[in-house]
């Protein structure tokens, strides 16, 4: 007998509706799946066989043919398991069901239903097709319920799925917790830094990262531990290594210039590069970023949640409101950075969409990996084409990077001796290619932190205060630039919003001549000055804004002088 149910498969970041047709026919016992199924799907045969038997049903000793339609679309992953198993049970008339059903989930041999990545876009795709009831893995319920108009019914096992299908229109059998409450924080200060899901049992939600910490990042405390003059307060160092919390800006001693650069970068969405010897606090500063970024807007949050649903190993516990902060290790592969692989999975560039991509030890990354970032930096997206399949991932991230001045880390630092061989330092710096340099608006050099500043009494500004200023400046810019941050402005638009006074115009020309700036360099200067003016709540860019912006210009010329002459 023929049975049909709906399910879904993932293609890039999109869900695709799949019709699962099962024909249970007389003949020699056999089980075949047709319809461009990948290896994981071929193995669905074994999982379905085991799950059906171990759930107290018979695996029919007949000729079973599973067709996955549309037949020309390549299908991957294990999310079709549940649909196939139920269609077999329906086709062999072991169970009955009323109405039109869709099922998404992976099966264990024991018949339990497990979560699959990308549940959210898959359920959304089913909803768009007019399917109103979807059986989802119990652990993915909260994620599936983010899609309005679709009734998501949790099933922890085949038995529960069958029970739900027998009794149409019933309420879910299991009582479940309401989905994690998504709160917009009370304005404007502390909470605005992070209005992520409130997690019970933690006094300070600001310091709580939902279990999305990057697994690829190895030993972030290494650099600080090994150095003699760390800018790290003990609590900050601990926060780095436990992987659960981020340091507060109050934990960062000294480095006023770099702190200011970070503030400007985050307020304007500018690319930032920090250069300094090990232990000067580059990584620590970068790790404070999550606490400084404003929450995602509604549309952004939905997009981020979809990316999370597809890319994360863990179930999504409600709408993602925290801006992504991704810090991939420098050994990351090309596909890991921009996405791809056999299943067209999104890479770090996409996971950092709307957020910050932090590249520590920038020159240590593979050249190919860095070059691959050029497209997303220019267009805010990654286009991936593979034989027979292509997709586009969003990648509107802000680049923050850090590097040592040379492999030994001491070149150009007062009172230290560089132990690199001649020419090594210049080659090291040259690994960051021109096009990438062009996308970095702010450059800042961090001198080593003198021990005296580690024990100073006066407490530096904390993250909440700085985050407040950042939010205010971003609001000004977004309103004026029609939804774009200053970091994405150029050409006429930039000049129009800069509102240069006559004096400021003269100053800009003088600065450009002094530094022999190219057109691009002048634009960078103006972009940064615009953000500084926003932080100042000033409508026009004045002389002193430009003067400050000039401190963060690319030292390309000076760097070359220092390293090569």
């Amino acid at each position: 007998m023929l049975a049909t149910v709906h399910s879904a498969s993932l293609y890039g970041l999109e869900g695709r509706v799949i019709r699962v047709e099962v024909d249970v026919a007389p003949g020699l016992p056999g089980f075949s799946i047709v319809g461009l199924a990948d290896a994981a799907l071929q193995e669905a045969r074994e999982r379905c066989r085991g799950a059906i038997r171990n759930s107290g049903f018979d695996f029919p000793p007949r000729r079973i043919t599973v067709n996955l339609a549309p037949a020309d679309l390549p299908k991957s992953g294990s999310g079709l398991d549940l649909g196939i198993a139920l269609a077999i049970l329906l086709g062999s008339e072991q169970v009955r069901a009323a109405g039109r059903w869709a099922l998404v989930g992976e099966l264990s041999l024991g018949g339990e239903v497990r979560r699959v990545p990308g549940l959210l876009p898959m359920v959304a795709a089913l909803g768009r097709r007019g399917i109103r009831r979807v059986i989802v893995p119990a652990e993915g319920l909260e994620e599936a319920r983010l899609v309005t108009d679709v009734e998501a019914i949790p099933a922890a096992s085949i038995a529960e799925a069958i029970e739900a299908m027998r009794a149409p229109r019933s309420r879910p059998r299991r009582t479940i917790d309401p989905p994690a409450r998504v709160e917009l924080a009370s304005p404007p200060m502390v909470g605005s830094a992070d209005p992520g899901p409130r997690v019970p049992g933690h006094a300070d939600p600001r310091r709580e990262v939902p279990g999305r910490e990057d697994p690829g990042r190895s030993d972030p405390g290494r650099e600080h531990a090994a150095q003699d003059g760390p800018a790290v307060a003990p609590s900050g160092a601990a926060a780095l290594t436990d992987g659960l919390a981020w340091p507060d800006l109050a934990d960062v001693r000294g480095q006023a210039e770099a702190r200011r650069a970070l503030e400007i970068a985050l307020a304007g969405g500018h690319g930032l590069l920090m250069i300094g010897p090990p232990g000067s606090g580059k990584t620590l500063l970068a790790r404070t970023i999550p606490g400084l970024l404003p929450p995602l807007g509604d549309d952004e949050a939905l997009e981020a949640t979809i990316v999370d649903s597809v890319a994360s190993d863990l179930a999504v516990a409600g709408l993602v409101r925290r801006r992504p902060f991704r810090a991939p290790h420098h050994t990351i592969s090309y596909a890991g950075m921009v996405g791809g692989g056999p299943r067209l999975s999104p890479g770090e560039a996409t996971r950092a969409d709307h957020g910050v991509l932090f590249l520590d030890e920038l020159p240590e990354f593979d050249r190919d990996v860095l070059e691959a970032l050029r497209q997303p930096l220019e267009e805010g997206r990654v286009a991936i084409s593979r034989a027979g399949r292509a997709t586009v991932f969003p990648a509107r991230f802000q680049l923050v990077a850090a590097m040592n001045p040379c492999p030994c880390g001491q070149a150009g630092v007062e009172g230290r001796v560089c132990r690199c061989r001649t020419g090594v330092a210049a080659r090291y710096a040259a690994r960051v290619s021109g096009p990438l340099r062009d996308r970095i608006d702010l450059w800042v050099m961090l001198p080593p932190v003198p021990p005296a500043s580690l024990v100073q009494d006066d407490e530096p500004e904390d993250s909440a205060t700085v985050a407040g200023r950042i939010v205010a400046a971003r609001c000004l810019a977004l309103e004026r630039n029609r939804g774009r941050l200053n970091g994405r402005l150029s050409g006429r638009t930039l000049l129009a919003v800069a509102q240069l006074s006559t004096d400021a115009r003269a100053r800009l020309v003088a600065l450009a001549e002094l530094e022999e700036l190219s057109g691009r360099g002048t634009e960078r200067l103006l972009r940064v000055a615009r953000t500084i003016a926003d932080l100042d709540a000033s409508g026009s860019v004045d002389e002193h804004h430009l003067a400050e912006a000039a401190r963060f210009r690319s030292p390309a010329r000076r760097l070359a002088d220092r390293l090569a002459v």
Binding site: G254, Q255, A256, E257, R259, R260, G276, P405, G412, V413, E414, G415, V417, C418, T422, G423, A426, V444, M445, L446, P447, V449, S453, A510, L511, L514, I532, L535, D536, H544, H545, A547, E548, A550, R551, P555, R558, R562, A564, V565
Partner: protein
């Protein structure tokens, strides 16, 4: 050696080429070279011998100079003789290569051979010169040398001295290395003055490669890039000490700006003292690794090395007078010049602080008692007025041009 007729000129050219060919032979040092010349009369004759039957054996029989016959030693071994014969065979190719690189070979017998080198104990037999030959024999050449890992301050001192020497009509001689050497050459070139770079490699194996463009600029501004090593020689550990004796030998005085405990610049200083040239040392702080060698030098050779107490003082000691100089003492401080410029209060406070020594932004924020944003903006203004310079998160006051008042 006046050029009279065509034949003489031709013979002279051939002889010069023969010297150049012999100079390409690895392992043929000044002693061997001298022995060959002594035995065969000229380099061309020596090369001709290799072509005749038994020539190689004859070459290998060359004895070095010595007092008593019994202790005479062979100056040229059988192996070396084979190499020389081989080079003689490739003679025309070698000459072509030298021409193609735009090099002028200068031999000991050339009148244009720098006279200061003639007084060395074993001067290089051939110098390969790119650029102006005249630049090798200027009125007052000064060698400026130092570490390849200088501090920012050292780099600045090197550039200052080179600039002042150039303005005063002197010629800066150095080794084209990264660091102090490069800063000295670059500063001279910026003044549009000739400067001489001595290589530790053949011209076609220019080391460091990063300075290829600097070398071009040196040639373009009327200076010279010179090497006693023939094209094809790679820079190795051993070639630099040899190069250093040419640097000090080409100059009347050698100035060591910054040198670590084992810096090659110390070798140059030793050569200068041995060659009876003056040696000046820029003293550094007691615990600065980049100045450890300088201090050691001052201690080891009291009375022979002289201290550099200021750029103007150095010029005075060198007997040079800078153009437009009225009275050669340290120029006005940035602070003094700032007073004349009607600066804002924050700018003035920053200058006051920087007058006491370099400072980081953190320190400046603390002493100016102003917001970071204000301090950063003020630094740009000071920098634009030439009162402050900064690199690597540290800023320092810029002293005024010597002898000019604000």
């Amino acid at each position: 050696m006046t050029v009279v007729g065509d034949a003489t000129q031709h013979a002279e050219l051939a002889e010069r080429d023969a010297w150049a060919i012999l100079a390409t032979v690895h392992g043929l040092g000044p002693v061997g070279f001298a022995a060959l010349l002594a035995r065969f009369g000229s380099a061309a004759a020596a090369l001709q011998v290799t072509g005749s039957p038994g020539g190689v054996a004859a070459l290998a029989d060359t004895r070095g100079p010595g007092g008593i016959d019994s202790i005479r030693r062979r100056a040229i071994g059988a192996e070396l003789a084979t190499v020389i014969a081989d080079a003689a065979g490739r003679g025309s190719t070698i000459v072509q290569t030298i021409r193609a690189l735009g090099l002028t070979p200068l031999t000991l017998e050339d009148r244009a051979y720098p006279r200061r080198l003639l007084s060395l104990e074993m001067p290089p037999h051939v110098l390969f010169v790119r650029g102006s030959v005249a630049a090798l024999d200027p009125p007052s050449p000064v060698a400026i040398v130092g570490t390849r890992h200088p501090t920012e301050a050292g780099r600045r001192v090197s550039a200052e001295i080179a600039g002042a020497v150039s303005r005063a009509g002197g010629v800066v001689v150095s080794g084209l290395a990264i660091g102090i050497d490069g800063a000295a050459h670059a500063s001279a070139v910026d003044q549009g003055a000739p400067t001489v770079a001595v290589l530790g490699s053949g011209h076609d194996r220019l080391y460091p490669r990063a300075h290829a463009r600097l070398a071009d600029r040196i040639v373009a501004t009327g200076g010279a890039v010179v090497s006693e090593l023939a094209p094809g020689y790679e820079a190795t550990r051993g070639t630099f000490p040899r190069r250093n004796r040419v640097i000090s030998g080409l100059a009347d005085a050698t100035v060591v700006v910054e040198a670590g405990r084992r810096s090659g610049a110390l070798i140059t200083a030793d050569w200068a003292l041995e060659q009876g040239r003056e040696c000046f040392v820029v003293p550094g702080p007691l615990h600065a690794p980049a100045s450890a060698g300088c201090l050691a030098l001052l201690r080891s050779f009291p009375g022979q090395t002289r201290i550099v107490s200021g750029v103007a003082e150095l010029l005075e000691d060198l007997g040079l007078v800078e153009e437009g100089q009225v009275d050669g003492r340290a120029g006005p401080s940035a602070r003094a010049r700032g007073l004349a410029l009607d600066l804002g209060p924050v700018e003035q406070r920053l200058l006051d602080r920087l007058d006491r020594g370099p400072a980081t932004v953190d320190e400046l924020v603390a002493s100016a008692a102003a917001a970071v944003a204000t301090v950063l903006g003020a630094l740009t203004l000071l920098e634009m007025r030439g009162l402050v310079s900064g690199a690597y998160g540290r800023y320092q006051a810029v002293e005024g041009p010597v002898g000019r008042s604000a």
